[in-house]
């Protein structure tokens, strides 16, 4: 009984953790950072979501509580307020921190493999499967020789005599 309760508890925790994973990430933006203009603020948040926090590396600056993430969020807002376009803001950050700062790497020669690699793998696998099945389909089996045929017949004969199989409409 206790064990069942415990199992239930664990299942609940796991389910909760999974759900939490799907829930929108908590945002670290402090109220005093936010711009009064909701359109600008929305743009700032959209940019921030795709900017990697340079010290935490797997979080965006929108999610990170790190000090430098805060600095970058403020910087982005200042630039937007000064009239910069989204691309200009991103370019500003890339000029200082490199493509690394973008959570979505740009498509260029150096990153091409990242983008098309999975599709190449998929194509390769599909080609492999195609070749495999074509070969299997084409493979011809040698006919049985006399001795093999006799042996097979004897098996089938024995099979036919089996009452259970017959009652079930057994084959051959």
């Amino acid at each position: 009984m206790i064990r069942q309760i415990r199992h239930g508890l664990i299942a609940g925790l796991v389910a909760g953790a999974i759900l939490a994973g799907f829930a929108p990430a908590s945002f670290a933006v402090r109220p005093d950072e936010m711009l009064s203009d909701p359109a600008l603020e929305a743009r700032a948040e959209a940019i921030s979501r795709d900017i990697r926090c340079v010290v935490c590396q797997s979080q965006s600056i929108e999610e990170s509580d790190a000090d430098i993430a805060h600095d970058l969020r403020v910087l982005i807002r200042e630039q937007l307020k000064a009239g910069a376009t989204d691309d200009q803001v991103r370019a500003f950050l890339v000029a200082r921190y490199g493509d690394f700062v973008l959570l979505k790497p740009p498509f260029e020669a150096k990153t091409a493999l990242i983008w098309i690699g999975p599709f190449l793998l998929l194509l390769g696998a599909a080609a492999g499967i195609y070749v495999f099945y074509r070969r299997v389909g084409r493979r011809e089996t040698a006919p049985l020789n006399a001795a093999e045929q006799a042996r097979l017949d004897s098996f089938l004969q024995a099979h036919d005599d089996h009452p259970d199989d017959r009652s079930q409409g057994g084959a051959a």
Binding site: V54, V55, Q57, D67, I68, D71, L72, L75, V94, A95, R96, Y97, G98, F100
Partner: protein, 184 residues
């Protein structure tokens, strides 16, 4: 052709193993990211001095002023930064062994705390500038924290960036040869 198909998975496995083993190498630092600023001229900046009457640090000092035509190191540090304490004695070594001025930029630091830090540990810097809101570090040099050290060549171009504290080994094997080369 048939045999090749059999060997292919082995080749792929070997390649992947090689990549993974290299990835686990203790010499590889996954946090090391090349700065796009290497090879670029130093950005315009002006860092106020620690105290009145002392000179601060500005890009003009490197390009036309006191350090014109010299290789210099710029070290971002802060009194609140523990690795900076560990690194501190090495800055003197860098300065004396390479024969270059090391300019200190105090990142997000209060002047009083900074003065206390230098009084306590000594001052290895040719000059100290203050970057109280951290903007020189972030906008000018793309730093991700302190300490960070930049090597600037005679023309005022950034030649190397060392994020994190310097080490004896790093100075001997990486910085001294580079600086020697830049000084030619």
């Amino acid at each position: 052709m048939r045999r090749l198909l059999f060997i292919l998975p082995l080749i792929v496995l070997a390649a992947l193993t090689a990549i993974f083993v290299l990835g686990l190498s203790p010499n590889r630092d996954p946090h090391a990211i090349d700065s796009p600023l290497i090879g670029k001229p130093v950005a315009a900046f002006a860092a106020p001095a620690l105290a009145d009457g002392q000179p601060g640090i500005a890009d003009s000092d490197l390009l036309t002023g006191a350090y014109k035509g010299q290789v210099v190191a710029i070290n971002f540090f802060a009194s609140w930064c523990v690795p900076c304490r560990a690194e501190h004695p090495l800055l003197k070594k860098l300065s004396s062994e390479a024969g270059i001025p090391v300019l200190g930029l105090a990142w997000k630091d209060k002047k009083e705390a900074l003065q206390g830090f230098l009084d306590e540990l000594g001052n290895p810097y040719a000059r100290v500038g203050t970057d109280e809101n951290g903007r020189i570090g972030i906008v000018g040099f793309g730093i991700t924290g302190v300490p960070e050290t930049f090597i600037i060549d005679k023309q005022g171009v950034i030649r190397d960036r060392i994020p994190g504290p310097l080490s004896d080994e790093l100075i001997t094997t990486q910085l001294l040869p580079l600086i020697k080369d830049l000084q030619k």
